[in-house]
């Protein structure tokens, strides 16, 4: 029982999150005027008629490669910020350890570059 009590903050957090969602949805549906008509219910309400399906055309593989490269460096940045904050405490070894991480990422980046993943025109 004592164990379960330790998780109380997490349960409270989950309860608060669910409660907030329900509150916003309920308040929105009570407050806003409800006036649907066919034009409004169409997928893109920006003045231009949509043509065909969204999944009609194939995306170029390049988009995915660039997206994956973006994620890699996004994650690197995510690690760099907390590392920079505590740099004073973790000392020289901690300083070097980040360079091991950056080196491994650089290997991958250099490989992708040489392989031509960043060439847009082929």
């Amino acid at each position: 029982m004592l164990m379960l009590l330790d998780y109380l903050p997490i349960f409270l957090m989950v309860a608060a999150a669910i409660g907030l969602c329900l509150f916003i949805l309920a308040a929105g549906s009570l407050l806003r005027p409800s006036n649907p008509y066919p034009e409004k219910n169409r997928p893109y309400e920006c003045g231009v008629d949509h043509t065909g399906e969204a999944s009609g055309g194939l995306f170029r593989v390049h988009y995915f490669v660039v997206a994956i490269l973006f994620v890699v460096f996004d994650v690197e940045a995510m690690f760099l910020f907390p590392w920079a904050v505590v740099l004073q405490d973790i000392g020289f070894i901690g300083y070097l350890e980040m360079f091991v991480f950056i080196f491994l990422l650089l290997v991958g980046f250099a490989y992708a570059w040489i392989k031509g993943a960043l060439e847009w025109e082929s």
């Binding site: 164990m3 998780y7 070894i93 491994l104 290997v107 250099a110 490989y111 040489i114």
Partner: protein
Amino acid sequence: MDQQAIIRSIIVSSPEIIVILGACLLLFVALMKNKHQMTILTGLSLAIILLAATVTAVLSSAPQSAYGGIFVVDGFANFFKAVFYLATALTLLMSGRYVVEEGIAEGEYHALILFALSGMMIMASGRDLLVIYMGLELQALSFYVLAGYLRRDPKSNEAALKYVILGAVSSGIFLYGLSLVYGLTGTTELTGIAVALSANEPPGLAFALAILFLITGLVFKVGAVPFHMWVPDVYEGAPTPITAYLSVASKAAAFAIVLRIFLDALAPAADIWIDAIIAIAVLTMALGSFVALVQSNIKRMLAYSSISHAGFALLGIVAGGPDGVASVMLYLLIYAFMNLGIFAVVVMMRSGEVRGDQIEDFTGLATDHPVWALLTLIFLFSLAGIPPTAGFFAKFYILMALVQEGYVALAVIAVLLSAVAAFFYIRIVMLMYMSPPTRRFDLALTPSLRLALIVAGVGTIGIGLAPGWFLDQALGAGFAETLAFAGGVSP
């Protein structure tokens, strides 16, 4: 950690570092287009493995721990690393002509194999659930790509997609089990979990749930019933050398963490999981043996055979104790030799227009090529567990450990199911020896494939001749002493 501890940790983990840096190097060597590229890449990979193996041998003089006790180099880890080095080297040797003929002789093949190797080495050395998980994922991600390496073959695409989706699900389940274990014991370190488990008895319902998730995730990686569905499809679709690698090295790595987690960290809670493992082992052996009977594709048949072998090896975990651990380790070593051998034979049969993965393709092989047919016969007899091949002793020691622990009924079931399994191995032998050839054989033999076949054959026969010595090695390499050791040294 102070500077000295860091340097010591780097030395202790240097085989892994060598393999990872080597794989990075191979990536760039692969970019340089060259006529002899395949030869250079294979030679370089073998040199890296040899270097790592040498360093492992040097480090194996005494058990050591690093990175604050989450990474160990003990006899257990070194034994498994030896199996991985062997499997990787043989896989590389049998790849040469196959990848050229399939038109996949490019780029990252060798680098990915080495990345998978490093992941498995980390799995074997990890003493912390998170480190083990890291190794598991590194290994799995490399195998997802390798399984789909025949990019223009729909079967290979199917294999990769199935493997990645099911692998991700199982990793998620495993990770959830880890999080529960961490929540209940307050540590991810295996020794800490064992201590916490023996301290507060009895483990409650939440812990049973955690073990259920861990078993599910691990059984998935081992390829045992009821989570075996991916095995035949992945094994059939993947390039044959990769199938061999997957079935031997990846399975051995999965067993390494099963042994470490269940017989080390979760040993105090054995009452909870032992019945589940018994049921899984028996079902796995039964399903693997019976379904293999009706297969016509040899890669699918070997997939079911590997499922049934996984079930047999799980029995060693049921037996537990130093004998049980040693019997599973020896089983995996022998399985590595005989299974890589039979897959090298399948690679040998693939030549020109003949895919060579149908069981009928073996018809009459003995008439034209008596030597290679004999070698195939030895591998098949070993897989079936017929003395005096090594496969017999693999099963024998597991049965011994079982009987010593009093699981006589279980041992009888295991023997009966092995008899069923023997049938479909013998069927190929019958086809090779009793039928006249229906076509001219044009075997895809290269010097390196010959070497792989001979090494596998020598291993299969050699262990069969001196099984006691190898068992002693496995017994000496157990992690029984590391529990006390890790408690004393880890900071």
